[in-house]
Amino acid sequence: MLSDLLNWGRRSKADPADIAPPKGSELTVPSKAFPKFLAALKNQPEPSIVIDFGPVIGSNVAFLGERLSCKLFIEDLITEIDRHKKAPAGGALAATLEARLRQEDGSVDGVLCWDVFDFLDKASAQTVAKHIIRMLRPGGAVMGFFCTAPVERAPFTKYEIVDDQSLRHRHHPGIGGPKVPMPNRDIIRMFEGLVVAESFLLKNSTREILLRKR
């Protein structure tokens, strides 16, 4: 029948449009700061040492470790924040972070903070910033994403490196939490000793900030 050939009136059971998950939940977003971060690493002595404050992602390890030959430290602060939000009686987050960040002074070339600071209270943010400043080598770079408006409850995000110009924003199973915007002046104060080398405002109202140690 002609109608069968044209498939009028019905769609195949295997039509991907019927079974595909909704699009848009895991966007791939170009990053302005990430290429600058990689360029900063390129100028550091080899092998570059990078700390990733996000959850471990296999393709990020392959990108940074295998392709760029960086030595990579995974310090998954998002999971630490998640643990504290689930069991707040376990003590102050700032104290946990203080005990956790033990890298030597001047030993790190790059820090991938992603959006960790949005989920930290002031004391914890200052603790993390203090250790970043301490552990960073001269010329080293820090990349962080900062929200511009408060969010009552935001999910955590896994930032997967797609290539050297874009990141895939993926679902994180953690409970998330409120996001608190930090004014630029507070970021500059918190990272005293570093300079804001680049700052970009994305359409999604996220600020991508690259800080460097002179």
């Binding site: 699009k23 393709s59 390890v61 392959a62 030595k71 995974i74 797609v162 700052s199 994305l202 359409k203």
Partner: protein, 137 residues
Amino acid sequence: MNIGKSVVIKGELNGSEDLTIEGQVEGKIELRQNVLTIGANGKIKAQVFAKAVIILGEVTGNVTATEKVDIRDNGSVDGDIASPRVAIAEGAHFRGAIDMQRAGAKPGEKSDKGETKPAAAAVTPTTGNPATAGASR
């Protein structure tokens, strides 16, 4: 060879054949020419040296492999990894350092640092709209 769930070894474990551990080992494991598999029930507190290490259970300690370390879903490593290839599955736990420098590689050999070609892991098609508005200093 298999080390079963009920076996607990404290000390040094050396061998010249592939090994799967489902039990507990504390100390040091050396299988420099062979593949070591830590099964889903395996609990290791040891320094591990092998040709390749596949982890489905728990490892606390540094892992060195001359070929590959593969942490599978629900596998867990607390320690440093040194291996030219490292694969970490979704759902795996890892805390520590990863050094993928090839043994014997000379400084400056890693020539593709900063190139603009996409990484091997970057072949998944883009699913969203670009969100970058542009630079503002």
